[in-house]
Symmetry: C2
DNA sequence: TTGAAAGCGCTAACAA
DNA sequence: TTGTTAGCGCTTTCAA
């Protein structure tokens, strides 16, 4: 069922069919009707591939996130997809599983598919080979959630450093003086690094002891073992600042295994502000990132850049500290 | 940067370049080296669109779910994307927002893009115009989560009816005799309908009074108002069976607004088994669907069908009743 | 082992 | 208002 068949049946040329289908030029009422009938008759559906090849436009965006299983990314993709769809763009989606080589292979595939632009969250924007590939291919992209370090790339994020700083300060205000940070592979995530910087500054500013950061691999969720040494120390931390909400949830569970109840014995704070965190037991103290709005902004901005209506922008969304039951006063601690 | 440029630089024909790039035919070592050098030199990246047009294969799957903001779908898509990616397939993703007309327009767009197959969750498979479009286009698809009614289409789901039956029976075992069901637009979702059938049968089998089902629109999250009449009745239900976990979460919150504490005063059960439900306060009593595994199965099965290695299959995954704190004994009820 | 050539389905000058 | 025509970038006979 090609445009040629339709043209033959309708007794016109392919050019006229194309004009009729795309409303891209004058078509007489008679021709239009004949064409409509022919299309009904043979169930013609334009092959987008042919159009894409001819016009060198795909109306497709590539979206790459670490994982859909973390609601922060799922929500962002939801906002993105909605906005892109509204503008008639397709979304090619992939997850990297936090693996740099997968980031690269996905980006290569997206480039091969001639996506017009990309929205991505990478592990570390400085060292990302995926980003280098994009730069040399000169395909526009928007970094989402990654901190806005570089001047030459559009980003949408919050001020991770300051947000972490504020959150840790709130822990101090609750009386906590020994506060540890737990991060998922700090060395591999620029977000964790920023959040660590904020944590560190808050600790230093208050003259508190700087705890060693606890790095946990994403693949190894045997948290209890990692935390055992820390928790059973004589001067164990009274509060744990986790680099993400999902990690905080795992930490709370791991602490329970070790006999440390939250928030009675220790406090735990997260970061991301996933919606469901409010309904957790205990509800999560965290920093809220407006994920869906950020995804929406990313899509709109990328499309605006594609049409030349916008230039590189580093958008910082406001964040919000959301207090929750997972943080209590430090008085009840064990040491 | 086309294959022609590369051919010219390497001093060979485009056919040889194509063979070299795709390893699809004999290429002498000398030619191969010249081609490799040429590709490096001009940064050539094969245009997939050209290949797709020529070969009439896109290696792309379309995925349509109601919403990514519900973890049950996000998890399923995660499993799907992972499996598809492993087999070298791209995933085109869209969300319908539970709207039938959006389902249709997305499917039309996917067909235009010549996806080789689709995985979708539709509101109601019987009445879905989207499915009719797929049937007449003769593009293979897998229904995910939708109950397996029809014989002529691959589906992956659990036994919704029996799962709901089991769950409601467990409520009865806890002493509940007035059990209401709350569903999101029953008339628009075949899953809700199945779950209602299971609920109804459990009620009837135990000789209990059949309560009117409460239907709430997805768009109208003003649940408290909807529930007020029911909750304040003299013989108010002591337990609410919600058609999804997300709805259960909203219901628990709405009940709190009305002064009905869960599970002290009323019990609430959900359906879906989103992972985070275990960590809610109270933790959710629910039916667990193995969403990620179902997505994985859907992708593998669809690809197997594309390669002729599988035929239409109706896969029923096992479910699991996961007890939680949201359901308590009926003794504490108000009426 | 290689290259010439045809053509996938479509759009867009351009001429009529 | 319409049709002819020339490709878009690629793969793939087929003959050499």
């Amino acid at each position: 069922m090609t445009i040629r068949e339709v043209a033959k049946i309708a007794g016109v040329s392919t050019a006229t069919v194309s004009r009729a289908v795309n409303r891209s030029g004058p078509v007489s009422p008679e021709a239009r009707e004949a064409i409509d009938r022919a299309i009904q008759q043979c169930g013609f559906r334009p092959n987008i591939i042919g159009r894409q090849l001819k016009t060198a436009r795909t109306r497709t965006l590539g979206v790459l996130v670490p994982s859909l299983k973390n609601p922060i990314f799922a929500d962002a993709v939801a906002g993105l997809e909605e906005a892109a769809g509204r503008e008639g763009y397709n979304v090619l989606l992939a997850a990297s599983g936090y693996r740099a080589e997968k980031e690269l292979s996905v980006v290569e595939a997206f480039l091969g598919s001639r996506v017009e632009g990309l929205v991505l969250t990478v592990a570390d924007d400085d060292r990302s080979r995926a980003l280098h590939a994009l730069d040399s291919a000169r395909v526009p992209y928007v970094l989402m959630f990654n901190p806005a370090d570089r001047e030459d790339v559009s980003t949408v994020s919050i001020d991770n450093r300051r947000a972490a700083y504020d959150l840790v300060c709130s822990l101090v205000r609750d009386g906590h003086r020994r506060i540890a940070m737990i991060a998922g592979s700090l060395s591999e995530s620029d977000r964790s690094a920023q959040r660590y910087a904020g944590y560190r500054q808050a600790i230093v500013d208050h003259g508190l002891p700087l705890e060693d950061i606890v790095e946990v691999k994403f693949e190894n969720p045997n948290l209890s073992a990692c935390l055992a040494g820390l928790v059973h120390r004589r001067d164990a931390p009274t509060a744990y600042f986790c680099s993400t909400d999902m990690l905080a949830i795992a930490v709370i569970r791991a602490l329970a295994v070790l006999g440390a109840r939250v928030p009675d014995m220790v406090s735990v704070a997260g970061f991301d502000g996933i919606a469901i965190g409010e309904h957790l037991s205990p509800s999560l103290s965290t920093v809220v990132q407006p994920a869906e709005a950020m995804g929406d902004w990313a899509a709109h901005h990328l499309l605006a850049r594609l049409s030349g209506e916008a230039s590189i922008t580093r958008k910082i969304f406001p964040y919000r500290i959301r207090p929750g039951e997972s943080v209590g006063p430090a008085s009840g601690h064990r040491a």
